[in-house]
Amino acid sequence: MTRSERNWLLVAPAAAWFVVMLVLPLSVIFVFSFGERGPAGGYVPAFTLEQYANLPARFTAFKNTMILAPVGTIAAMLIAYPLAYQLAVRTDPKWKTILLVLVIVPFWTSILIRSYAWIFILGGRGLPALLEMVGIEGVRLIYTPFAVLIGIIYGYLPLMVFPIYVSLDRLDKRLLEASADLGAKPLRTFLTVTLPLSIPGVATGCMLVFILLMGEFLIPALLGGGKVFFVGNALVDLFLQSRNWAFGSAVAFTLIVIMLVTVTVYMRVIARLQSGRDDVSIM
């Protein structure tokens, strides 16, 4: 057995697994999206663009996703940045690791239970009840876009902090001293030195969170209560309730395409910004 045959033998089981459990299912979705719904649900083979033409029927789900996913991403970034800055630049190295781990740990525990905690807090017996005690009545929090946004920020904040922290931590602290020595005020140092150098971390964090938010189902299902729903919720409805596989496949495939296009464009833009900055720094 040659060396190269041996390598392929090692890779073969994983490759086969990916083909059956990933490539095949995605291909099926692609093929089904050109089919028709059967009389009792399911799928009837056909070649039609009818399902794609029908996409506006689920316009609200796409609209909610395309609004709340970017808004949630930006909100999480704005909250995460100062914390990452505090941890990376202002914290005693002795405490850095433990404090960072404390931020990340919630991300790896069940998102289901963490979102459920907010049903508890935002529900009628939680915050609104407290507000009533101080005289503010009739506040409704749960099952609103605000509740979904809180859930999103809460769920994905850790994922945003981590990459920003890494980029700020790598930053050569002597640059900050140099800037101060040359008479720059702290704000100016931040805007002209720290912020540009941390852009890669911000870009990575935003992309990770945005990708996950595009396919979000649980947070809108639990905190949006059927009023604020994402494409993910529409997919569950289409496949499990109305059993319209062909249309559901078209919706799923459109979601994938939107994601891929957004991510590609986004990476291009970031790469251009980066190269532009490098030119400046060479000068």
């Binding site: 041996r6 390598n7 392929w8 033998l9 090692l10 089981p13 994983a14 490759a15 697994w17 990916f18 059956v20 459990m21 990933l22 299912p25 995605l26 979705i29 089904f32 799928y43 909250i79 100062p82 914390l83 800055y85 505090q86 404390l102 931020v103 740990v105 919630p106 790896w108 525990t109 069940s110 289901l112 239970i113 963490r114 459920y116 905690a117 049903i119 508890f120 807090i121 529900g123 017996r125 939680g126 809460y154 904040l157 850790p158 990708i211 595009m214 396919g215 189902f217 649980l218 639990l222 993910g232 997919l235 569950v236 496949f239 596989w245 496949s249 799923a252 979601l255 994938i256 991510v263």
Partner: protein
Amino acid sequence: MRIYAVCVYLFLYTPIAIIALFSFNAGRHASQLQGFSVQWYARAFKNPFVMDALETSLFVAFVSATLASILGTLAAVGLQNIRGPARAVFDGVIYIAIMIPGIVIGIATLIALVTVFDVLNPLLASLWFEGGQPPRLSMGIGSLIAAHTMFTMALVIVIVRARLAGMEKVLTEASADLYATPLGTFRQVTLPLIAPAILAGFLLSFTFSFDDFIIAFFVAGSETTLPIYVFSSIRRGVTPEINAIGTMVMVASLLLLIIAQLILRRRPRS
């Protein structure tokens, strides 16, 4: 600035603390604490649905994490020396596995497997010997394990590959120069060096599978995992029993993560 950081930590941990606090509440109601009690934990442990779901979740997590660790490690080692278009295709597949939303993976897997089973089942029945009961393929624990293994295998490959990339190539070359067989080199040089990455990959895979709701929701068939049980209970209303289950699940995942972190951070002996 420091106050800001404290506020963010409070934001992150207050909801978790509230869940834990109310899981020890003696009363039923969410709005008032009525003394300390562990009755909701006792109830959760006595509830046969919870115990069945827990057992299913643990079994699926263990089997899929084991499969993912073994197959993922083999693939990462093999991929090391593969270049060219085949490698690019494989990397692309791993990227897709990690990037595609769980909900799409869940739905696509359900639709594909149901369609394949609809073709295979009559085929099996016609080929089966006379009078015997032919096996029927259906969604269930098998499909759930297969789906979780697919995703977590991608994670293991990424983690192990990062460790392999940091490994000195001189070591395996030296071993080969000293007439070790490829298998001997793997067992005595490579494996001990990447062992922490494999173990960390296993623990992360276990946690992922144990916590996963969305993929399981579609591919589990009639099986109920713990997250599926919790989700359907939440839909019926907030109960203290869910607080107790939630607290236990979070503590368990926390412990696993801390162990994974400690293992991954430990520098290899050199």
